[in-house]
Symmetry: C2
Subunit: 201 residues, 2 copies
């Protein structure tokens, strides 16, 4: 689009929006048109909500979660089982597990997984704080909820070793057939795992 | 997602982002995670860009375009041919035509098209100002760049009648085969129009 089509302020907004996940230059332009038409109901409140978020978001010094308070909402929640720590790679994974609402435990966000190829070693992960929490006496189980990828599993092994002396139970997510999944479309590894971990009906 | 997952500021940001076109609740959450991770490089600048846009966006009193100045960037542009007015339904259509870069004329944004069924009548369109501009003496052609829908074509007829005494040439976009389009996939109306408007090679 020609630089002269609209003021530089609008051009800048399009460029910034195009850097959001799921939005390209074209959809960013469409989004800006929508925002311009709804400037009172959407654009202005969104600007303010973003300003507030940018100002207040902090990393929880306990678990590594992102929130507007430290300790984060989850670490403060008195209804959570603090004897269980669910270890995740990212805040996105934490949110995904919370959507599943299968457990009301505390979390530990590693920030990355081990990937020697990308130069990511143990020192890049939030491990000292995890060991500290796991050995505090309050914790009885650490659930490794890491991706079933090489990096995720390497990290899981590393943490299992790290916590071997801590006197806590270390578990990992079950492998198996996804709920609603069709066997025909599953890879052999998943099918083997599902067979090995078969349960009585 | 449970209300207690993150602070209310983050929940509000997700809810507002989910109201953008192309983003649902799920992609809004993903976008917020991305923004939280990039709060210095993206979230804060985006908040500021939106604030500035919300504060400065005005509707051009000449053509109805949205911009941060009035008259808008296009109406101010001395390289534009002011003897031609391209009539469009929305600013989105104006941007689409500008992307095509086929003409450097001035525009007139109607804001809507006639739709008796939805209760949209001539009084809801920016018509008086269009007549005023078309009869100012400066204009020699009005190009109706309206959607090839019932509403668009009804509006085109209405404007043609309205300008019949104005002494300006009124034209409309050509119908035909889209560039790159395959005949096999085109509707009969388009094919008939393309045949009727055939040109010498």
């Amino acid at each position: 689009m020609a630089q002269s089509l609209a003021g530089p302020e609008i051009e800048r907004l399009i460029q910034l929006l195009a850097r959001m996940p799921g939005l390209g230059p074209r959809s960013a332009r469409r989004a800006v048109l929508h925002l311009m038409r709804k400037r009172e109901e959407l654009l202005a409140p969104l600007a303010e909500a973003m300003r507030v978020a940018a100002e207040r978001i902090v990393t929880c010094t306990t678990c590594g979660n992102l929130d507007t308070q430290d300790p984060c909402t989850i670490c403060r929640d008195p209804r959570r089982d603090r004897s269980i720590i669910v270890v995740v790679e990212s805040v996105a994974d934490l949110w995904a597990l919370e959507r599943a609402a299968a457990i009301r435990a505390s979390y530990h966000v590693l920030g990355a997984t081990l990937s020697p190829f990308d130069g990511i070693g143990p020192e890049d992960l939030a491990l000292p704080r995890l060991v500290e929490r796991a050995t505090s006496g309050e914790v009885r189980e650490v659930i490794l909820a890491l991706n079933a990828t090489v990096e995720g599993q390497t990290t899981a092994h590393y943490i299992t070793d790290l916590l071997s002396e801590a006197g806590v139970k270390v578990t990992r997510l079950a492998h198996g057939v996804p709920v609603g999944g069709e066997l025909d479309y599953l890879d052999e590894g998943t099918l083997s795992a599902a067979l090995l971990s078969r349960t009585l009906v």
